[in-house]
Every structure is written in structure tokens, then in C-alpha cells.
């Protein structure tokens, strides 16, 4: 995951109408789409609504001038987080249906149910729509802008400094992980080499992780010292420039919320 950090940020540094949009607007819109698709009850109408939401996402993705391959690559990386849970659904009965009709019988008496397959497809649609919007915001918004947007939206002050520093040091650690892997390769150590005793492999990986832990702590100490030199103290607050939303951003935000509400209502009220 951390290997993709630079690539994601590189995409976020591009320029397009979506990239230039205020991060608060993007963040709230993404949250609204995710909450809306998750909030609708599990029924086949989710598929229809999901298609509408996905079309909206596709439009924004086109406007971002990012290649569809970037989306596909990131989607492939995220899919395993949910796809197995979705695939298993077809073998189980669930509480959302009263009657289940077997459509296939596998060895050991395992049955695949039509209703379970339908439920799996509903989950799949909800999952895809949610992760697509996450991919959109992370590919078109710099991490620092996301943090600033969160601050402007009221993220507690206690979280601001640690989160900001964490984001900054993620890049340091991404590089460190690369160097650690390189060092392990240089020593011909492969944690997956079955010729080596398992305890030995676990110990070596444990030492590596412990070393990263110590390095991160020592980095924190150095950071603290340099912050003290710059006047950091208990009551220090990072400055944030006031940034009012432009009328077109407000219009886009309001229009999108109305779109979400209307699309949801039309799909569900339609007989």
C-alpha cells in the first residue's frame, strides 16, 4: 500500500477542473455519495442507483483528465479488501430474503442461491461506488489539501498537528521501507524462503520492524527538536489561511447534493 503513495500523490499534483476544485467541496461530495449509497436498503434498486452514481463519478473522472488505466490499477489494488467477502455471499442464506432458490449445487452439498447471488451483486455495486469516489478524491486532491480541508471543516486541533506530521512522514517511511527491502535483498534474505527456519525468518522480520519503530521514534525526537527551534510550544497552532468558497463551487456542491437526493428519490419512488 505504502508503495503507491508517491504515485497517488503524483496524480494529485496534476491540474484539471477537478484537481482545482476546493478540497472541502470534493470531500463533502464524496462523503455524501458514499453515505447515500450505503444508506439505501439492500434491494435490487441499489444497482440502478449505483449505475447513476457511477456515471456521475465517470464524468468527474473524465474531467480530471486522468487515464482510466489509473482508475483500473487502483481499483485492482483495492478490490481484494472486499471482493472475497462479496464472493462468499453466494453460498449463504441471509436475513434480507425470506425464500432462497438454489441455482447450482457444488460438491459437499454446497448450494448457490439466486437470492444470495443477487445480494452479492448489491454489495458489489455499493462497494464499487464507494471505492470509486475514494479513488477520485485521493487521485485529485493532495494530502495536505485534504488535511487543510478537514481543518476548515472543524477537525479537532488535537488531531491537526499529529495528522499533518504523520502525512509528511509517510513519505519518509515509504522511502525507508524501500531501503529496508533493498538491504534485505542485498543480504539475499527472503522472508518467504522456505529453506530458512520459520523462527529465524520471523525473528529477522521482527528486528526489522523493531528497527523501523525505533527509527520512527528517533525521527520524531529530531522533529521535535527542530520544531522547538522554530518556536513550537504547548499553545502553538499551525496557521491556516482563510479561504472562502467561490460561488461556482457552492453552486456545484449544492447541485450535487440535489442530484443525489433526487436520484435516490426517483429510483426508490419509481414503481
Amino acid at each position: 500500500m505504502i508503495d503507491d503513495l508517491y504515485l497517488i500523490e503524483k496524480h494529485a499534483y496534476r491540474s484539471s477542473i477537478v484537481h482545482l476544485m476546493d478540497a472541502r467541496v470534493k470531500l463533502l461530495i464524496v462523503l455524501a455519495f458514499i453515505v447515500a449509497i450505503v444508506a439505501v436498503p439492500y434491494s435490487v434498486r441499489v444497482i440502478e442507483l449505483g449505475a447513476i452514481f457511477f456515471a456521475f463519478f465517470a464524468g468527474l473522472w473524465c474531467c480530471s483528465r486522468l487515464s482510466p488505466l489509473i482508475y483500473a490499477r487502483r481499483l485492482v489494488l483495492i478490490l481484494p479488501f472486499g471482493i472475497f467477502l462479496i464472493l462468499f455471499q453466494i453460498f449463504f442464506k441471509n436475513r434480507y430474503y425470506d425464500i432462497f432458490h438454489p441455482i447450482a449445487t457444488l460438491p459437499f452439498g454446497i448450494e448457490v442461491y439466486a437470492e444470495s447471488a443477487e445480494f452479492a451483486s448489491i454489495l458489489f455495486v455499493k462497494f464499487i461506488v464507494s471505492v470509486s469516489f475514494i479513488i477520485l478524491i485521493s487521485s485529485t486532491t493532495r494530502m495536505q489539501d485534504l488535511l487543510d480541508a478537514s481543518r476548515r471543516l472543524g477537525l479537532p486541533q488535537e488531531f491537526v498537528l499529529p495528522l499533518g506530521m504523520m502525512i509528511r512522514y509517510l513519505f519518509v517511511f515509504a522511502e525507508m521501507i524501500g531501503k529496508v527491502r533493498c538491504a534485505l535483498d542485498t543480504r539475499c534474505f527472503d522472508p518467504f524462503d522456505r529453506h530458512l527456519p520459520y523462527r529465524y525468518r520471523l525473528r529477522q522480520v521482527g528486528y526489522t520492524i523493531g528497527m523501523i519503530f525505533i527509527r520512527s521514534y528517533e525521527q520524531g525526537e529530531r522533529t521535535y527538536t527542530s520544531m522547538l527551534c522554530r518556536g513550537y510550544g504547548e499553545n502553538a497552532r499551525a496557521h491556516l489561511v482563510k479561504k472562502p468558497l467561490r460561488p461556482r463551487e457552492v453552486s456545484f456542491f449544492a447541485g450535487t447534493l440535489i442530484f443525489i437526493a433526487v436520484a435516490t428519490a426517483v429510483v426508490y419512488l419509481h414503481p
Binding site: 508503495d3 471505492v131 488535537e158 488531531f159 526489522t208 523501523i212 519503530f213 521514534y217 525521527q219 521535535y224
Partner: protein
């Protein structure tokens, strides 16, 4: 163990968010009282370190791989279960919003599972077991293992309550898988603790507990 969006209905997600927020507020209170200004940068950088540690895949005896969560290690080293909550909240926030690993609506449940349960089981398991096994590293191993196992069982329970995964199968599959994967969490928690107590004992919040 990161539950994606859509696998927990919105009503239940709100409940998990409320529980998570209660613990986040407590962890912020702990941060304000116990961390001190000098520890804020340390914990923040540590959170980035835990994020990096989660990127390290470790082999599991039966051929697959897994990675550690790190809540138990953070809680033990920083001397408070709330450290686990604080660090894991930061990590899960970035994982969910930037990488799509774990959902936005389900982030509350993920924070409860990995941060709260991981931190509390890890910390108190370690404290309780130290008196019994008399070896801080054996205690760290068991606490690390238990933190992951209990989190996985809770995760299976949440999915069952949500109606998106049957309880029996979830308990068996998640329980078995994480009982094995917990060896990584426990083993690396113990090894990392040994390394830290040897190389930088001053880092540990209660170094005498480890050396004793």
C-alpha cells in the same frame, strides 16, 4: 480485518462511530494530559511508522502472508491503551480516505476493532500476563496474539449482526485465520519490544516493567 463500506448498514455504522468517537475523545484527553507537547510529534511520527510496519508482509506457516496491526505494540511501548486508539485512529483515517483500505461509514467499527480492542487487549493483556508468565516478551507475544484474535472475533460478530456474513462461518474462518496470523502480531510485538528495550530502553514508558 478492515471492513469496507456497504458491509454494515448505516444505522449500525452510526452506533460504531459513536463508540469509536467516545474512545477517540478519551484518547485525545489522554494525549493532552499524559503526552505533553514533546510527545505529540513523537506519536505522530510513530503513527507513520506503524503505517509503514503494516506494509511489511510477513509469511504465515501455511504459505500465505499477513501483516501486523501494531495497536498492542504502540499501547505497550507508550504505556497506555489510549495510545493504541490514538495511533490507530490516525492510521485508519489515512488508510480509509487515501487508500480505500477500510470504509468511511465503517471506519468507526474499524477503529473499535483495531484501535480500541487492539489497544486495550494488548495493553491490559500484557500487564496481566507479566505477573503470570514472568517474561515480558512471552507476555507481549500472548498480548499481541490476543489483541488480534479478539479484534477478529469482534469483526466477525459485527458482520453477523449486520447480516452480511453468517456468525458460525465468520467465527470459524476469521477465528482460525487470525489465530494463525496472530502469531505474527504476537511474535513481532515480542521481538520488537526486545529490540526496543535493548537498543532504546528510554523510549519505553515503563522500562522497568520490561527489564524486570
Amino acid at each position: 480485518m478492515h471492513i469496507p463500506d456497504a458491509f454494515i448498514p448505516i444505522g449500525q455504522s452510526v452506533i460504531y462511530w459513536i463508540i469509536a468517537l467516545a474512545f477517540i475523545i478519551l484518547s485525545l484527553r489522554w494525549a493532552r494530559k499524559s503526552m505533553g507537547e514533546e510527545r505529540v510529534p513523537l506519536v505522530a511520527v510513530l503513527a507513520a511508522g506503524v503505517f509503514a510496519i503494516q506494509a511489511m508482509n510477513v509469511p504465515i506457516p501455511w504459505g500465505t502472508s499477513g501483516h501486523m496491526v501494531g495497536a498492542a505494540l504502540a499501547a505497550i511501548v507508550l504505556g497506555s491503551p489510549y495510545a493504541g486508539v490514538f495511533v490507530l485512529t490516525l492510521v485508519l483515517l489515512v488508510q480509509g480516505v487515501v487508500f480505500g483500505d477500510g470504509g468511511i461509514t465503517t471506519m468507526g467499527a474499524n477503529i473499535v476493532n483495531m484501535g480500541v480492542v487492539g489497544g486495550f487487549v494488548g495493553y491490559y493483556g500484557y500487564a496481566a500476563l507479566q505477573g503470570i508468565v514472568r517474561s515480558p516478551y512471552a507476555a507481549a507475544f500472548a498480548a499481541g496474539w490476543a489483541s488480534l484474535f479478539v479484534s477478529a472475533i469482534l469483526c466477525a460478530g459485527e458482520l453477523a449482526v449486520a447480516g452480511t456474513f453468517p456468525l458460525g462461518f465468520g467465527l470459524v474462518s476469521m477465528g482460525l485465520y487470525h489465530a494463525v496470523i496472530g502469531v505474527i502480531e504476537g511474535g513481532i510485538t515480542a521481538v520488537a519490544l526486545y529490540l526496543i528495550s535493548s537498543a532504546r530502553p528510554d523510549i519505553l514508558e515503563h522500562p522497568q516493567v520490561v527489564s524486570g
